[in-house]
C-alpha cells in the first residue's frame, strides 16, 4: 500500500511547482537582482563620466593665501591628467575578469572622475588679488591660512556665493597634515605616529594548525557568508510561507476534515513538510544554477568550497524542517492566514534573530554571541552557514550543532504533532490562553 505521507508530499510539490508565484520568486528574484546590478553599473559608469565631463568645465584651481608659510603648495600640483587608476580599484577589476570593452569603459570613467576630483593649488601673495581671481571664476575657492594658523588652527574658505558647489578637501587636509607633522617630527617618527602598530609582533603560546590560504579578496570573507545567510533565510521563509498559506486555505475551505477522514494529523503534517521542503530545495537548486553562471563568467576569484556547500545543504534541511514543523503546528491554531501568521510569528522571529545582530557576528564570527547562536536551534542554521563560509567554525562545534539540531527536531515533531492534532480542527473564534492550554494538555 502506498505511503500516505508520500501521496500528500507529492501533491504539495506538484501543486506548488505549478503555481506562477513560485516561478515569479524563483526566476524573478535573481533576474531582478541582475537587472538592478546591471542598471547600477551602467548608471554608475554613465553618471561618473557625466560628472567627470561636467567637472572638466569647472575650474580645478584652488587659491591659496598661506600667510603662515606652511608648505610649498606649487610643488604638490599634478602635472597632468592621471593615466592610471588607484591600485586597489585596479586589483578588483583584475579579479572580476570582465570583457575588455566593459573594463576599459569602467577604467576610463574612474580615471577621469579621480583626476577631476583632485585640485591644483594657485598661490597668492595678497587677499585682494586672490579674491579678484575668485570673482572672475578663475578659482573653485580660496583657502586663507592666517599667520597664527599653527597656534589656533583657524583657516577660512572663500567661495564665490552660497550656491557654489562644495568640493572635497581631503587632499588638502592630507597635504597639510603631512606638512605640519614634518615640522615637528623627523620623517621616521611620522610613519610610526601614523601607523603605531605597523611593527606588531605576534607570539603564539602553542603551535596551531596551518591556517587555510585566505581568500584573495575581502568580498569572500564578508559578502559571501552574508549572501549564504540571506539565501538560506529567504529559502526557509518562502517555504514556510507556502506551508502556512496551504494550511490556512485547507482550514478555511474545510478540506481538513475530509483529509483527516483518510489520514492522521501526523501523516498530514509530515507530507506537507516534506513536499514543500522538496519544493524549497528545488528553488535553491535553480538559484544555485543561476548563480554559477555569473560566478563562472565574472567573479572567478570566488572559490565555492564543497564543504561549505555541504554544510549549507545540511543546515538548510535541518533548519527548514525545524522551522516548518513548529510553524505548521502553531499556525494550525489560527482559523485563517492572518491568525496563523500571528501564532507562528515567534518561530520566524527567532529564526531571523542573527540578521539583527549581523554586524556583531560578522565582526567576531567566533565571539560569544556567535557561539550562543550556534547552539540555539532556531538560529543555528543561519549562523553556522555564515561562520563556515567565513572559515571560523571548529569541526567540533559544527558536529555538535548538528546533534543539537537533530535533538531539537525530534522534540519539535513530538510537541508539534500534538499541537497540530488539536489546532487543525479548531475553527471560529480562537481559543483563549487558558482554554488552549487545557486543550493541548488533553491532546
Amino acid at each position: 500500500m502506498k505511503s500516505k505521507v508520500g501521496v500528500i508530499a507529492k501533491r504539495e510539490y506538484i501543486v506548488g511547482i505549478k503555481k506562477w508565484g513560485f516561478w515569479l520568486v524563483t526566476l524573478g528574484l535573481p533576474l531582478l537582482i541582475f537587472i538592478i546590478g546591471l542598471f547600477s553599473l551602467v548608471l554608475g559608469v554613465y553618471t561618473g563620466s557625466r560628472v567627470a565631463d561636467k567637472e572638466e568645465e569647472t575650474s580645478r584651481e584652488l587659491g591659496i593665501l598661506d600667510e603662515a608659510s606652511l608648505l610649498d603648495w606649487a610643488s604638490l600640483n599634478e602635472t597632468g591628467p592621471k593615466t592610471s587608476i588607484d591600485p586597489a580599484i585596479a586589483a578588483v577589476l583584475e579579479q572580476m575578469d570582465l570583457p575588455a570593452g566593459l573594463r576599459g569603459k569602467i577604467e576610463e570613467a574612474v580615471t577621469k572622475s579621480e583626476w577631476n576630483r583632485s585640485l591644483n593649488y594657485t598661490v597668492f601673495q595678497d587677499l585682494e588679488t586672490a579674491r579678484a581671481a575668485l570673482k572672475a571664476d578663475q578659482l573653485r575657492g580660496l583657502l586663507v591660512f592666517p599667520t597664527d594658523f599653527l597656534t589656533n588652527y583657524q583657516a577660512t574658505l572663500h567661495l564665490p556665493n552660497e550656491d557654489s558647489d562644495r568640493f572635497s578637501m581631503r587632499m588638502v587636509s592630507s597635504d597639510l597634515r603631512d606638512a605640519i607633522l614634518s615640522r615637528k617630527f623627523e620623517e621616521g617618527e611620522i610613519d610610526q605616529i601614523l601607523k603605531p602598530l605597523a611593527g606588531l609582533e605576534t607570539v603564539y603560546l602553542e603551535k596551531g594548525k596551518e591556517k587555510k590560504e585566505s581568500a584573495p579578496f575581502e568580498l569572500t570573507r564578508y559578502v559571501l557568508p552574508a549572501l549564504f545567510m540571506f539565501i538560506m533565510m529567504l529559502a526557509i521563509l518562502t517555504s514556510v510561507d507556502r506551508l502556512l498559506r496551504g494550511l490556512a486555505e485547507e482550514k478555511s475551505n474545510r478540506v481538513i476534515e475530509v483529509l483527516l477522514s483518510s489520514t492522521t494529523a501526523e501523516q498530514l503534517m509530515a507530507g506537507k513538510v516534506l513536499g514543500l521542503g522538496l519544493l524549497g530545495l528545488t528553488q535553491l537548486a535553480i538559484w544555485a544554477c543561476l548563480a554559477l553562471v555569473p560566478i563562472a563568467l565574472l567573479f572567478t576569484f570566488i572559490r565555492l568550497d564543497p564543504v561549505s556547500m555541504m554544510v549549507f545543504a545540511i543546515f538548510f534541511v535541518l533548519g527548514y524542517f525545524l522551522t516548518a514543523v513548529m510553524t505548521l503546528a502553531l499556525g494550525s491554531l489560527g482559523s485563517n492566514l492572518q491568525e496563523a501568521s500571528q501564532y507562528s510569528a515567534v518561530v520566524i522571529l527567532l529564526s531571523i534573530m542573527p540578521t539583527w545582530t549581523f554586524p556583531l557576528i560578522i565582526s567576531e564570527p567566533s565571539g560569544l554571541l556567535a557561539r550562543i547562536f550556534t547552539f540555539f536551534p532556531f538560529t543555528t542554521p543561519l549562523v553556522v552557514v555564515l561562520r563556515q563560509a567565513a572559515g571560523e567554525i571548529p569541526t567540533w562545534e559544527l558536529l555538535t550543532s548538528i546533534l543539537v539540531m537533530l535533538a531539537a527536531l525530534f522534540l519539535a515533531v513530538k510537541v508539534g504533532a500534538r499541537i497540530f492534532r488539536i489546532g487543525i480542527l479548531l475553527t471560529g473564534k480562537p481559543l483563549g490562553p487558558r482554554a488552549l492550554w487545557r486543550a493541548l494538555s488533553q491532546a
Binding site: 500500500m1 502506498k2 500516505k4 501521496v7 500528500i8 501533491r11 501543486v15 486555505e249 485547507e250 475551505n253 474545510r254 478540506v255 481538513i256 476534515e257 475530509v258 483529509l259 483527516l260 477522514s261 483518510s262 489520514t263 492522521t264 480542527l425 482554554a435 487545557r438 486543550a439 488533553q442
Partner: protein, 295 residues
Amino acid sequence: MILRLDHVVKKFGETHAVKNISLEIPKGEICGLLGPNGAGKTTLIRMIMDIFKPDSGTITLTSGLSSERKNHIGYLPEERGLYSEVKVRETLIYFAELKGLTRAEACANTDHFLERMEMTGVAQSKIGKLSKGNQQKIQLISAIVAKPELLILDEPFSGLDPVNMALVTDVIRELRSDGVSIVLSTHQMATAESFCQEIFLINKGELILSGALEAIISGYSGNSLILEGSGALPPDSCYRVLSSERGRHKIELLDGVSTKGFMGWLAGVEFETRAIKPYRVPLSEIFIREVKRHG
C-alpha cells in the same frame, strides 16, 4: 455487524460530548444517526473516523478488514470541504489515493463515479466554478470513490435540486444493494424514514433510542387511529383523543381495546364516519417526544 462502539466516552474540558454510547452498525443496511443540534453526533462520527480518539471505550471495525479503519470508511461531512482552485478529477484522484488506492485504481474509480453522477462534463473544471449542487455531488463522489465498506453521510441532500436528489437517492440505494453499510445523519426526518432500516437517536451525548425503524414507529403508533367524519365524537372510556381538527380526529385506543371492538362501538354512536385508518406516528414526532422526555 460492520462496526461496533463499546462504552465510548468523549469529554472536551467539562463538556461531556459523548456519554458511554454502545451501538452496532449492521452490515449492508442504512442506519439513521439522529439527534438535535449539539447532541454529539458529529463527535461520534469523528471518533468513528478516527479523527478523535475516545477517552474510553472501543470502536471496532468488523474482522476481515485491515487495521487502518479510515481506508474502509467513506465520509461525507455536513460542511463541504473541497479545494476551490483545483480541478474536479485531480481532487477526486487525490482523495482516492489517500484511501490507499493505487493511481490506476483511483483514476478508474474516479471516472466511473463521475459518469454515474453525470459529472463527466465538469471533470476538468475547477471546483470553485461549479454550482453548490454540483459541488455537493463532487463531495459525495469523494466519499464513495474508494468504494468503502462503510459510508457515513451527513446531510447528503443539502443543496440539491429535486433532480439531483433523485440521482443521489438512486446512488445510495445502489450502494446499499452492493452491500455497502450506510450511516445517514440528517435532520430531515422524512429522509430518514424513507431510507433507514435502523435508527440511533442521540441527545446530550446519550443514546436515548435505537432499533429497527418500523418496530419503533409501530411501537409509538400502537393503537392509534385517524377518524374522519362529521358530528361530535362522543367521549368514551375505550379511547382518548390525541388531537382534533375540523372533523379529523387522531385517537388512541386504550389498553385492551381492539380496533374491531372500537368500530363496533362507533357504529352505535351519532357520528357520521367518512374514513378510518391506522395512524402512523411520524419519526419527527417520535424524535420530539423522546428528546423532550430525556431533556
